[in-house]
């Protein structure tokens, strides 16, 4: 299993643990709920499931070439960084934005949206070139 896949899978498992912890938190009576449910949902679906799928796909899809079997490595690391940076920004700033606690939280959500979008589009573009017969 290549190094990039190990990072995707292990970070995905950490995100699953975070999502489950948020799920527990949400059930605490009187806990602050503003903006927490969308964060829970996206940590679960994007941070865990999608991240896990991306990591395994980078490993398992047909080789891009014999010299670069998993495509351009810097693109894969860029996808990893962009996905997680975007998601962490959302985890921090969506509840703050919902509660109107930080003036520039809206701008951070736009940056978060852009980073997550960039991660997915880059993955789709690189994976597309590896979807082929023998």
């Amino acid at each position: 299993m290549p190094r990039i896949t190990r990072w995707f899978v292990k970070t995905g498992i950490v995100m699953l643990a975070i999502a489950l912890a948020i799920g527990v938190y949400q059930q605490v009576p009187g806990a602050w709920q503003a903006g927490v449910f969308p964060v829970y949902l996206h940590v679960l679906v994007f941070g865990w499931l999608t991240q896990f799928v991306f990591g395994i796909a980078i490993w398992m899809l047909p080789k891009w070439s014999s010299a670069l079997p998993r495509g351009r490595e810097w693109v894969n690391w860029g996808i990893y960084a962009s996905l997680n940076a975007g998601l962490v920004l959302r985890m921090v700033f969506e509840p703050l934005h919902d509660a109107q606690l930080v003036a520039w939280s809206g701008t951070m959500l736009v940056i978060s949206a852009t980073l997550q979008w960039l991660a997915g589009i880059s993955f789709a573009w690189q994976a597309w070139t590896r979807v082929k017969g023998r």
Partner: protein, 135 residues
């Protein structure tokens, strides 16, 4: 990778791009509002991500890597799987379109097609889930 898997995985990547674009617009609009009606994209975002991308990608890969049968039809009767992907994509597009246009009657059709798609995939591939060692 067989042709049907290539088709399913590539279509799923298109849905990933579409679903993420809708999601990014919704999140950006939450941060800096620019189009109040953008919330109407939410059902299409969810549909594209769950069924168009994730489910279709998983089924496309499963069709490729599940154990094969000896003989001339290693993946069984492929027409079931072909029908499955056609039904799944029809269902996703009909549900997302109906949700966008407010055509509630068609959402039932969309979801029914998706359920039928899964049934077709199960019928076509159930017997491929076996142990290679058991023979």
């Amino acid at each position: 990778m067989p042709g049907l898997s290539r088709f399913a995985v590539r279509v799923s990547l298109v849905y990933l791009g579409l679903g993420l674009t809708l999601g990014a617009l919704i999140l950006a609009n939450l941060g800096v509002p620019f189009a109040p009606l953008i919330w109407t994209l939410l059902p299409a975002h969810i549909e594209f991500m769950f069924f168009g991308w994730m489910t279709q990608f998983a089924l496309g890969i499963a069709f490729w890597i599940l154990p094969r049968f000896p003989g001339s039809h290693p993946r069984g009767d492929e027409r079931w799987s072909q029908a499955s992907f056609a039904l799944l994509n029809g269902g996703v597009l009909i549900f997302a379109g109906a949700a966008l246009l407010g055509a509630d009657g068609l959402t039932l059709l969309g979801r029914s097609l998706e359920a039928t798609a899964l049934a077709a995939f199960v019928i076509g591939n159930w017997r491929r889930v076996y142990s290679l060692r058991a023979g």
